[in-house]
């Protein structure tokens, strides 16, 4: 800038150090969290009715990856590869998907309290799933057929997508999406979905009610390679596409008009973020039920520790969410063994008080 007085050399140097320091912190955080996530996953695979030491788990996984058949023998191999591994992988994917969805929604709504659970996306998915459980049986009863395995995930997924599209259509006027309208419409849609889900619970029989209750509390229990192959193609694109959104979401923090002034394709960023959130939430609700608080707590913690820059926030949220859910699953499996607690209970009992504590401690983050 020719007109500017040259920056005082000392201050400019300090600034360069500041920028370099921030890049280093970011790199250390990503690598550190990725390693921690891998370690936690290995530990999680070892936990359960048949305890397997982490070293043996790592050995089995390495042998499987390298195709070394000599080590792949014994009951623990079956347990690791067919039961525990899909469950932990599902936990990683669902956790990452939920946390990133939360971070995306918060960026989109410019509100640190926005969460798929809050704006009715999860409720929409839950309503569709409840309808599948309760009404599916009735319609199928005449045909003497069992409800197909894929019906519930598919139903939940369609519900999540439907709720998101409804929100988007309500809040969009003349090509512009009003975030405030969308937030309010989300609350209304969430309440409506909740009421209809309650109605379904009212007309359901005892067995359906138990299914409904258990599912609405969330569980990674039904994990299998089949289920994983249905979730992975939906959550992985979210994780791969999120770097495209980071810059745009940073600009959106100044407001939509300012983001447009900065040259950000605001409408495209919003549409992509909404689509990705609907897909990821639909997929995770479908495969693991309703699991709350991951999408709020994880991004909030990351913002507290490394700041709100989405280029770091999104990948770190993915890793943090994956770790939180796998960790919560360990607790859910061990605390009342041999039975297991629904994981939604664990995340909410840890998450809600923790979140309240954060609110009381750092009001400045919310009060903007």
């Amino acid at each position: 800038m020719t007109l500017a007085a040259p920056a005082p050399a000392m201050a400019a140097n300090a600034l360069a150090t500041l920028a370099a320091g921030r890049r280093r912190v970011g790199l250390v955080a990503v690598v550190g969290l990725a390693l921690a996530c891998l370690l936690l996953a290995i530990v999680a695979i070892g936990q359960g009715a048949i305890a397997i030491p982490p070293g043996r788990v790592a050995e089995i996984l390495m042998a499987k990856l390298t195709g070394d058949a000599s080590l792949l023998d014994g009951r623990d191999v079956l347990v690791v590869l067919n039961i525990r591994l899909p469950r932990v992988l599902l936990g990683l994917l669902v956790g990452a998907g939920l946390a990133v969805s939360g971070a995306l929604m918060q960026g989109l709504f410019r509100n640190p309290l926005a969460d798929p659970g809050l704006v009715g996306v999860s409720s929409g998915a839950a309503l569709a799933a409840a309808a599948t459980i309760v009404l599916g049986d009735r319609f199928m009863a005449g045909t003497m057929m069992k409800l197909p395995f894929a019906a519930l995930p598919l139903g939940a997924f369609c519900g999540g997508l439907g709720a998101t599209l409804a929100l988007y259509l309500i809040a969009t006027r003349g090509g512009r999406t009003s975030v405030a309208t969308m937030l309010l419409a989300g609350v209304a849609l969430g309440a409506l979905s909740g009421a209809l889900t309650g109605l379904l619970a009212f007309i359901s029989d005892d067995r359906q009610l138990r299914d409904l209750t258990f599912w609405s509390l969330g569980s990674l229990g039904g994990a299998s390679w089949t289920k994983l192959s249905a979730v992975a193609p939906i959550v992985l694109p979210l994780l791969l596409l999120m770097p495209l959104l980071a810059r745009g979401l940073n600009g959106l923090m100044l407001g939509e008009a300012e983001a447009y002034h900065l040259g950000i394709p605001v409408q495209r960023i919003k549409a992509l973020a909404i689509l990705l959130v609907a897909l990821a939430v639909g997929a995770s609700v479908a495969s693991a039920g309703l699991i709350g608080f991951v999408g709020i707590v994880v991004p909030h913690l990351i913002r507290l520790s490394v700041g709100p820059d989405h280029r770091l926030l999104l990948p770190l949220s993915a890793l943090g969410g994956a770790m939180l859910l796998v960790g919560a699953d360990i607790v859910a499996r061990l605390i009342v063994a041999p039975a297991e607690l629904p994981i939604g209970i664990v995340t909410a009992t840890i998450g809600a008080p923790f979140f309240l504590w954060l609110l009381l401690r750092r009001t400045s983050l919310i009060d903007v």
Partner: protein, 274 residues
């Protein structure tokens, strides 16, 4: 594309909202090297006109061209290289640092620049806006005036990053000095004029009439959605116009040295003039 003509021109532009005509038949040209200052009472349509000229909202009628192209056909990122905008009341949703806020100006359109160059642009802009020593602070912990200077630094970043793409640029400042102390008001307006001296077309919305006549090459007066006068400040303002637009009695004098108009409010509550 003629190099000498106006960089941005609006012809007969209008805008309606809720059945009310917020801007009507407004025509103006922003020329490189010229500081244009837009004045008018509250609700005159100044900010709406600014939004129309920046492309943020589409006019209901009329034509706007930037560097010879119709404004609505220019894609957002290229427009961002051609014009920078400092809007009123920029609020931030998350606790970004001052450095990160300024950086937003080069993040979007400065991808062609090297990282060292981008960092230098941010450092220079922060220094120019006088907020270099605040670089590590959280934006939300700053005072209103400091925040405004950080936003100015961000706009300077964007202008500088866009310069490598677009030769002919426009700078829009909507009440940029509203929360600044006198020293920083003058510093910011001096800076705006030196940016204009570099060939940029500068449009500023101001409320202080004395500063407006001091800093404007071209003064535009708006009232009830219409541009009712424009031209060099000394020839544009007179007692009748001021009374009609601002509905106050002003005594218009000539400042001693440059012969610019100088305005004093008259017969208002408080201290009656003799």
């Amino acid at each position: 594309m003629s190099e000498s003509g106006p960089i941005l021109s609006g012809r007969e532009i209008g805008f309606l909202a809720g059945g009310r005509r917020l801007v009507a038949e407004a025509s103006l040209e922003l020329t490189g090297g010229t500081t244009t200052i837009l004045i008018g009472p509250n609700g005159a349509g100044k900010s709406t006109l600014l939004k129309l000229l920046t492309g943020e909202i589409k006019p209901a009628g009329g034509r706007i061209e930037i560097a010879g192209e119709p404004l609505e056909t220019v894609p957002a990122w290229r427009l961002a290289c051609q014009r920078s905008v400092m809007a009123q009341h920029a609020r931030l949703a998350f606790p970004f640092s001052v450095y990160e806020v300024a950086q937003l100006g080069v993040d979007g359109i400065g991808r062609a620049l090297t990282r060292q160059r981008r960092e230098a642009v941010v450092a220079e802009a922060l220094a120019a806006a006088g907020v270099l020593d605040l670089a590590g602070r959280r934006y939300q912990t700053l005072s209103g005036g400091e925040q405004q200077r950080v936003q100015f630094a961000r706009v300077l970043c964007q202008l500088e990053a866009g310069r490598s793409v677009a030769e002919r640029q426009v700078l829009f400042l909507d009440e940029p000095i509203a929360s600044l102390d006198l020293c920083h008001q003058l510093a910011l307006l001096d800076m705006a004029r030196s940016i204009a001296a570099r060939g940029v077309a500068v449009l500023i919305v101001l409320h202080d009439l004395n500063l407006a006549v001091t800093y404007a090459d071209h003064l535009v007066v708006m009232d009830r959605g219409r541009i009712i006068a424009q031209g060099p400040p000394a020839q544009t303002l007179d007692d009748a116009l001021l009374h009609q637009v601002f509905r106050v009695d002003l005594s218009l004098s000539r400042a001693p040295a440059p012969g610019l108009p100088f305005l004093l409010p008259q017969q208002h509550r408080g201290r009656p003039t003799a």
